[in-house]
Amino acid sequence: MQLTINNQVYEVAADPDDMLLWVIRDTLGLTGTKYGCGAGICGSCTIHLDGAALRSCITPASAAEGKAITTIEGLAMLSDDGEEVLHPVQQAFIETQTPQCSWCMSGQMMTAAAFLENNPQPTDAEIEAAMNNNICRCGCYARIRAAVARAAEIAQEGAA
């Protein structure tokens, strides 16, 4: 099957019911997307499918055919002179020193990025609701709240 990930087209030999997470990680070697529970509960495997946050561990690869997949590796942009420019969410997660082990953070950041795309100026309560279904075992929750709020600010500054 053909998958488009981070604007690159991959020809993949995968069974239609192979889960997208494992095709991305094991078949294609994009290991930034993490496995946590395999049941769509923890959110570590969150990616974007046509811009919407999605749990890749319970999504068959075939469901992503013909759609645009974005993983954490595709969240940053390259500037005209080839420099990596981090997404506002990535900038904010560093600025607030949010990640500890960071295994859950790809999923946290992909969730936050999709959320802010639809809601660029969220309230604290909206951030809390949007981020409440991603587990962080290191206990970075207080900082995740701050990081997502800060990411919204950075995006606004960039847009201004």
């Binding site: 946590g36 020193q97 990640p99 082990c101 075992r137 206990g139």
Partner: protein, 740 residues
């Protein structure tokens, strides 16, 4: 932990004069690489003699030649400074903190620093790399500074020779020296960089005979600063490689058959139809082990069901039976603390209470994972492990090869909390890789990790105290029973338990440090047939919960404010001063003396653990009988704080993980097997349930004396119990807490 890991930490602490430098030079490659080794053997394996010598003199004995460094620097001609750090990064920020220490004394410009994981490639002793027990900073702070200072002086004297000026006139300015003008204070352009010094060096480097003067606190450039974590750029871009991410050309995926009951073993194993299942490359069956190697993880796991297996033995224990096993018997036990005479002074008003802590899963989000490459009798394991040493030894034992032939590459760890001590997945990957003749990656599923990972040992603590007519405490008796940590035969040394009569790790934090005149602690060893071992904080978690909640109960019985009660009975001497400082700091920050907001109440707890003193206040509500913690304040005194923001992050994480245990987590067993398999049946605290947390870091020393990863956790259930009591008058003594 292992004895060798403790000894490696201890040996590393010795002064530089008893060390030797390993020099890998030099002029030809335009780089200066320096490792430093201890003068004694880093690995002490001479049994009782060594242990006694260490115990009696604090000296590591032996005459084996030094060979393993404990820190490694490399300065390249382009002025980049590579630091190889012998502790593993699992989110605690240790690579950053130790790099701060090194960069400070070496006087390097922070932007030139590149931090790398030290591993066996550079000769690091895997025992030293064991990252455990909140010990990394206290073990390595002094030796890293001494070696960095020595290296700086080598560079200075070489620069002096190259520039033909007196070394005293060279002033470090950040990866470079500038020459001070003769008879004045001005610094002369241009600076000479460390890279230039290294590139122009001819001949041998000379190492200093004595330890150079180390910086004082006022001179620190990086120590004490909230420097950004060195690993976050790679982590937020998805580039960081963890054990579950390890890859190599041609690798396949392995899965291992697991027993239906704890303790069950394979009576008979046949390949069944697994070999003809789609994508299967090999079925590996050997003594007590059956596994499959396949093209994908899913195919490997699917094929397990087609194996022909018969299990025998094991346990069918129930949760009720476990709780009956972990209980305090009417008599017996091992006396582990005796101050004064509890019996003779225990005749006053009696206050007593019993506390329970259930089993818990680590639930670290990256399950166990390892990649094994086997080439003849040489093995390379890339894995998320806290202990490359245990991984190495378990792989060597599993394959029957020399441990020296097993190379362990420690990857980033996606959460550990004690779960990744190297006992299982590395050996599984190695057995499958050898059997299949291809590199094999084994990554446990969440279900496997939750069902088969060892658990936090369940514990029960009973305390009673005697109060006189004025509410003064005359005696305190503490009795505890715990399932095993170090005495788990898969983990440590059961023989130690027979000598000591305790599991020393489960007993951690059980002594009563408050200055009651008569104190006694008795330990009961109560193993269960469910694997239990290290879990963040070890015994400190249940024991702090019990002791500190009991302190709250005593304060209530004495009709005294919990803060005043603790100040009244603070430990003697300097420790008591540290208690007083953190208690007052947290009381001030939280407004303890003032009223809590409507519908809320505050609770307090304090502890000394692993060299660190800390105190916690939480503010909780119980609307609709749902306990909710809104705010938390924690004052921590680990001596000297290396990175205040990193320290705050550790404390915040400890509080949230502790709160998850306090309000949610209870791992149970039915018919000899885990009742929960995934997070749907084992919920963790979520973001919306997390309090805001303020951390007050206190420097009480000019050096770090304690760790920060673990001491705070056990305060959380105690402070929450205290707050709920203040709010409702109901006393919660069994975790996880619920109001009926």
């Amino acid at each position: 932990m292992t004895d060798s890991a403790q000894n490696a930490n201890k040996t590393a602490r010795k002064g530089v004069s008893r060390r030797r430098f390993l020099l890998i030079l030099g002029g030809g490659v335009g780089a200066l690489a320096v490792g430093a080794v201890a003068a004694g053997p880093t690995l002490v394996r001479e049994g009782r003699l060594a242990m006694n010598t260490l115990f009696l003199t604090g000296d590591a004995p032996g005459t084996a030649p030094p060979k393993a460094p404990f820190v490694w620097f490399q300065i390249d001609a382009d002025n980049t400074a590579h630091l190889y750090i012998p502790k593993i990064e699992m989110g605690q920020g240790i690579h950053t903190a130790l790099a701060q220490v090194a960069a400070d004394e070496l006087d390097i410009a922070w932007e030139t620093v590149r931090v790398h994981q030290g591993d066996a490639e550079r000769g690091f002793d895997p025992a030293l790399i064991f990252t455990f027990g909140s010990t990394s900073v206290t073990a390595l702070y002094q030796p890293i500074r001494e070696v960095a200072a020595a290296l700086r002086e080598m560079l200075r004297s070489e620069a002096a020779a190259q520039l033909n000026v007196a070394a005293e006139r060279l002033v470090p300015v950040g990866s470079a020296f500038m020459v001070r003008e003769e008879g004045g204070d001005n610094l002369l352009e241009p600076p000479i960089t460390y890279g230039q010094i290294v590139a122009a060096k001819q001949g041998e480097w000379k190492t200093p005979e004595t330890t150079p003067r180390l910086k004082t606190g006022a001179e620190f450039r990086y120590i004490g600063k909230s420097i950004e974590r060195v690993d976050l750029r790679d982590k937020v871009t998805g580039r960081a490689i963890y054990g579950f991410d390890a890859r190599v050309e041609g690798m396949k995926y392995g899965a291992v058959a697991r027993p239906p009951r704890y303790g069950a073993t394979l009576k008979r194993a046949g390949t069944g139809t697994a070999g003809s299942m789609p994508g299967v490359i090999a079925v590996v069956i050997r003594d007590g082990f059956a596994g499959v190697v396949a093209e994908t993880r899913a195919k490997a796991h699917a094929a397990l069901a087609a194996l022909d297996l018969e299990w025998e033995g094991g346990t069918n224990i129930s949760q009720a039976e476990i709780e009956a096993l972990v209980s305090i018997p009417a008599q017996g036990g091992t006396l582990i603390q005796r101050v004064g005479d509890v019996e003779a002074n225990g005749g006053g008003t009696r206050v007593e209470a019993t506390y329970r802590v259930p089993m818990a899963s680590h639930a670290q989000l990256e399950p166990q994972a390892a990649l094994a490459e086997v080439d003849g009798d040489s093995v390379t394991i890339t894995t998320s492990t806290q202990s490359p040493e245990i991984t190495r030894d378990s792989v060597a034992a599993a394959l029957g090869v020399d441990a020296a032939k097993v190379r362990v590459v420690p990857a980033y760890i996606g959460g550990a909390f004690g779960r990744k001590t190297g006992v299982d997945v590395g050996a599984e990957a190695a057995i499958l890789a050898k059997g299949a003749g291809v590199p094999v990656h084994v990554g446990w599923t969440r279900e496997e990790d939750m069902m088969y990972g060892y658990k936090r040992p369940p514990a029960v603590n009973s305390l009673w105290a005697s109060l006189d007519a004025e509410g003064g405490v005359t005696a305190v008796h503490h009795e505890l029973a715990s399932a095993d940590i170090l005495l788990n035969p898969d983990i440590g040394a059961p023989i130690l338990g027979r000598i000591l009569g305790t599991d020393p790790l489960a007993a951690g934090g059980s002594l009563i440090l408050y200055a009651f005149p008569n104190r006694r602690v008795v330990y009961h060893h109560t193993p269960i047939p469910v694997p239990t071992a290290y879990w963040r904080g070890l015994g400190s978690f249940p024991n702090t919960f019990a002791i500190e909640t009991f302190m709250d109960e005593l304060a209530a019985a004495a009709e005294t404010d919990p803060l005043d009660f603790r100040l009244r009975y603070k430990p003697e001497g300097a420790l008591g001063d540290r208690f007083e400082r953190v208690l007052n700091a947290v009381a001030e920050a939280s407004g303890w003396r003032g009223a809590a907001p409507e519908g809320r109440a505050r609770g307090l707890a304090a502890v000394y653990d692993r060299g660190t003193v800390c105190a916690l206040v939480v503010e909780a509500s119980a609307e609709n009988r749902q306990i909710r913690v809104h705010r938390a304040w924690c004052a921590v005194d680990p001596g000297l704080v290396i990175n205040p923001d990193g320290a705050a992050n550790q404390v915040q994480g400890s509080i949230i993980m502790g709160l998850s245990s306090t309000l949610k987590e209870r791992f149970t067993v039915e018919n000899g097997m885990a009742a929960a398999q995934n997070f749907n049946a084992y919920p963790l605290l979520t973001l919306a349930e997390a309090p805001t947390i303020e951390v007050i870091a206190i420097n009480s020393s000019d050096e770090p004396v304690g760790g920060l990863g673990e001491p705070v956790g056990g305060l959380v259930p105690a402070a929450v119990s205290s707050a709920v009591f203040a709010l409702t008058g109901e006393r919660l003594r069994e975790m996880p807490f619920t109001l009926a």
